[in-house]
């Protein structure tokens, strides 16, 4: 397996890095956060990202994308993670695109994918049913009613849920799990914005007899579980890449502060108690880089060890972002807990991202299970 970036990925990383530095530094995140914009992202910026091809990285060429693969979108998310860029990239271009590409009929693909690629359409994946990740759908049901389905139940913490045009919902049907495409304006669907500590978009959704026509079934009824698991792994690898970006940046911000702030007549970075903690964090980051690269490339290389590698990456990056965000705040002293300094923003993002599709404990547990203990 290759643990160095391909040329394409290196190019995308470069391009996104420039974009993020120029267009979406953390001041951009702050301005979106502090505006009255309930969508929590900037449509103009999203349009520009789409023009650069970022929304279509996982979309096959015949539907208007570039099909650069997960390694491609991974480095993009990593760079955007560094500046906390809020965008629909994760929910729409990773989750939505993966589900539609894997299970959609030709018609559905034609309808949705080109619109996603050009930045006109956003989606979200309504999956979780509680505050802790559970990979098995259990509460929300889809009941057959003639040639339609009726959906009932409640979904929690849907990333981008309060603005997404199309909701892909996972529900329990008579003999398994099924996926449906739901319009955000459907009758019986109540969407409640759930404002999270990281100021990104998230929603809870209540479905009361929401009617689904047969053309909006995604894939086969009762047969979605395998694909769901596959796509969850894709999403976990992708969010790990974003988290790695955040962790790297939080670390660099902290190191810079250690080199700049003076107390007792010297730079605080000369204190060994701080140096050693910084060196430990650096070492953990080096390990995270390898795990993330491996988890992004293992899909393309069709490794039969994908779930384990993905759990490795999510757990390891989760632990490390957790550590660095805490230590970063501490090493800033008083200013670390002010809104003015960026380090606290990474703390908030770290905790929310840690929870997405399984925290470190969940993934250690899964790794143990997959390894046979």
């Amino acid at each position: 397996m290759s643990l160095v970036l391909s040329e394409t990925a290196a190019f995308l990383q470069d391009q996104t890095q420039r974009f993020a530095r120029e267009k979406t530094p953390t001041s951009h995140f702050r301005s979106v956060r502090d505006s009255e914009n309930p969508e929590c992202f900037d449509r103009e910026i999203w349009k520009q990202m789409a023009e650069q091809g970022l929304s279509g990285i996982l979309i096959p060429e015949e539907y208007g994308g570039s099909n650069f693969g997960l390694s491609g979108i991974g480095v993009v998310l990593q760079e955007l993670g560094r500046t906390l860029t809020p965008s629909p990239l994760f929910a729409t271009a990773v989750l939505g695109v993966s589900l539609i590409t894997k299970l959609g009929s030709d018609e559905q693909k034609k309808k949705y994918l080109p619109e996603i690629a050009n930045g006109n359409l956003t989606c979200c994946f309504a999956f979780e049913e509680g505050p802790r990740h559970n990979p098995n759908v259990s509460e929300v049901t889809a009941e057959k009613n003639g040639d339609k389905f009726l959906i009932n139940g409640k979904k929690f913490f849907v990333v981008d849920g309060s603005f997404a045009d199309v909701i892909i919902i996972a529900a329990k049907s008579s003999k398994g799990s099924s996926l449906f495409l739901v319009d955000k304006n459907s009758e019986g669907l109540e969407i409640k914005e759930a404002k999270m500590v990281d100021s990104r978009n998230s929603a809870n959704m209540i479905f009361t007899n929401v009617e689904i026509n047969s053309e909006n079934i995604l894939g086969e009824i009762d047969n979605a579980q395998d694909t769901i698991e596959e796509v969850l792994d894709i999403a976990r690898a992708a969010i790990s890449a974003e988290m790695l970006g955040g962790a790297l940046e939080a670390f660099e911000i902290t190191i810079n502060y250690l080199k700049e702030r003076e107390q007792f007549g010297v730079k605080i970075g000369s204190f060994q108690a701080l140096q050693h903690r910084a060196a430990n964090m650096f070492t953990e980051l080096e390990l995270c880089k390898s795990c993330v690269l491996e988890s992004l490339s293992c899909f393309e290389e069709k490794s039969n060890d994908v779930p384990r590698i993905v759990s490795l990456a999510k757990a390891k990056v989760g632990e490390t972002f957790h550590l660095i965000s805490n230590e970063g705040v501490q090493m800033h002293g008083g200013v670390g807990v002010t809104d003015e300094y960026d380090i606290g923003l990474y703390l908030k993002r770290a905790r929310v991202a840690e929870q997405i599709f399984g925290n470190s404990e969940f993934h250690r547990n899964r790794y143990a299970e997959l390894t046979g203990y």
Binding site: L258, A279, S290
Partner: protein, 402 residues
């Protein structure tokens, strides 16, 4: 067929023909070959294997051919390692010469010195030990006091070294000695090769908490060293020492992935879990104690992440052709701390059964784990302590202020 594929085929054939049967079996506790003038082999196949590989230069596959090395490039070396792993061949030679001295000689020694010493390292004819540390100079190595003074064609060496691993079994010692002023301390040090087969060199083994005595105090009393044994320039020994230390740390780092045979893992299984399962409650193949299970998983994941990182960094270094760098400190630090953790988890799982000293109801594997656990405590001390590695990372990698 590509050149590399051809090389793989030839290598496989060669190994198949030349690796003696005993050397395809897993390593035994006394099965390691250390070479040297008084080399002991516990099986004749060991000798044969060393001889065949040594002649081909494959004990040091990437070293230049003119000094008896294999002359392989990065990819060929990888192929060789893979093919040896596939066949399950044993490491032919364990040697400070291969791991530490040789690479430094290749960089700093004169042509004549290379011709004299490197082929003997490759063939395992001379066994080397490392004489750096002194009773008063450990982490602060550059404060060392062992003195060498010129006397015609020779240097006369006086002083004491300590923690000299295997000194009592070695033929030659590479040392750091003071040839100049005590201050500035880094600038009066030279790198000398000393033959231990003389009355001026004495060794005295030290007993460790693990019960073993792998290292010694080494005393020099008017030891005689020909001037041709000075490596690099007079008073410039610190350059050589630093270079060599990086190779040493790299070697020590990779040990973090080895460890106990009992807990060595297959491709996807967990050795740690397999071992633990013999001692703790298991239900439907799952370790019931959730706390222990999480700890094992965390440790396994760290092994996994660490080996991916070693691989990544070697892939990255492939084209840049740099030797080991300050980043080696990361590996030394992580490898040794990780190995210590692994053994603490084994102890936790095995309970008192991992704390036996001898006799009783303890199996040989259990007794070995007890001793290995004690041995791991040295991992974060030898070759520069973990604190020293953290200092190096802070200052040299992160560039934090002094």
């Amino acid at each position: 067929m590509t050149d590399l594929a051809l090389f793989r085929e030839e290598t496989r054939d060669w190994l198949e023909t030349n690796c003696p049967p005993e050397m395809r079996k897993p390593m035994t506790p006394h099965g390691m070959t250390w070479g040297g003038r008084n080399c002991k082999f516990s099986h004749p196949d060991q000798e044969l294997w060393l001889k065949r590989l040594g002649e081909k230069g494959w004990t040091a596959p990437t070293w230049p051919k003119e000094y008896g090395g294999g002359g392989l490039n990065y990819d060929e070396n990888k192929v060789l390692a893979e093919e040896m792993a596939n066949l399950g061949t044993r490491m032919p030679l364990a040697s400070f010469g291969l791991w530490m001295l040789g690479p430094a000689l290749l960089e700093y020694a004169s042509e004549e010195q290379k011709m004299e010493h490197i082929p003997k390292i490759i063939k395992g004819e001379i066994r080397w030990c490392q004489g750096y540390s002194e009773p008063g100079s450990g982490s602060d190595l550059a404060s060392l006091k062992t003195k060498a003074v010129e006397d015609g064609e020779n240097y006369i060496v006086n002083g004491q070294k300590v923690w000299t691993s295997y000194a009592n079994e070695c033929d030659m010692i590479f040392t750091l000695v003071r040839t100049g002023a005590q201050e500035p301390k880094h600038e009066g040090i030279s790198f000398l090769l000393i033959d231990m087969d003389q009355s001026g060199v004495e060794t005295k083994p030290i007993k460790l908490i693990s019960g073993a005595s792998p290292f010694c105090e080494t005393f020099f009393t008017d030891a005689v060293v020909p001037k041709k044994n000075l490596i690099h320039k007079l008073n410039k020994g610190w350059d050589v020492a630093k270079n060599l230390l990086q190779h040493e740390r790299k070697m020590l780092a990779s040990m973090g992935l080895g460890g106990s045979k009992a807990a060595s893992k297959g491709k996807t299984g967990s050795g740690l879990a397999t071992l633990s399962k013999k001692y703790v409650e298991v239900k439907e193949d799952k370790i019931v104690d959730e706390g222990l299970r999480q700890k094992i998983a965390k440790c396994d994941m760290n092994s996994h992440a660490f080996s991916l990182t070693l691989k990544r960094v070697s892939e990255e270094a492939k084209n840049s052709n740099n030797g080991p760098s300050a980043a080696t400190s990361i590996f030394k630090l992580y490898g040794s701390e990780h190995n210590k953790q692994k053994y603490e988890i084994m102890l936790e799982a095995m309970g008192s059964q991992a704390l036996g000293w001898e006799g009783g109801e303890f199996g040989p594997e259990e007794l070995a784990i007890t001793r290995e656990w004690l041995r791991t405590k040295a991992n974060s001390i030898e070759g520069g302590t973990s604190e020293v590695q953290l200092n190096v990372i802070s200052k040299r990698v992160l560039d934090l202020p002094q």
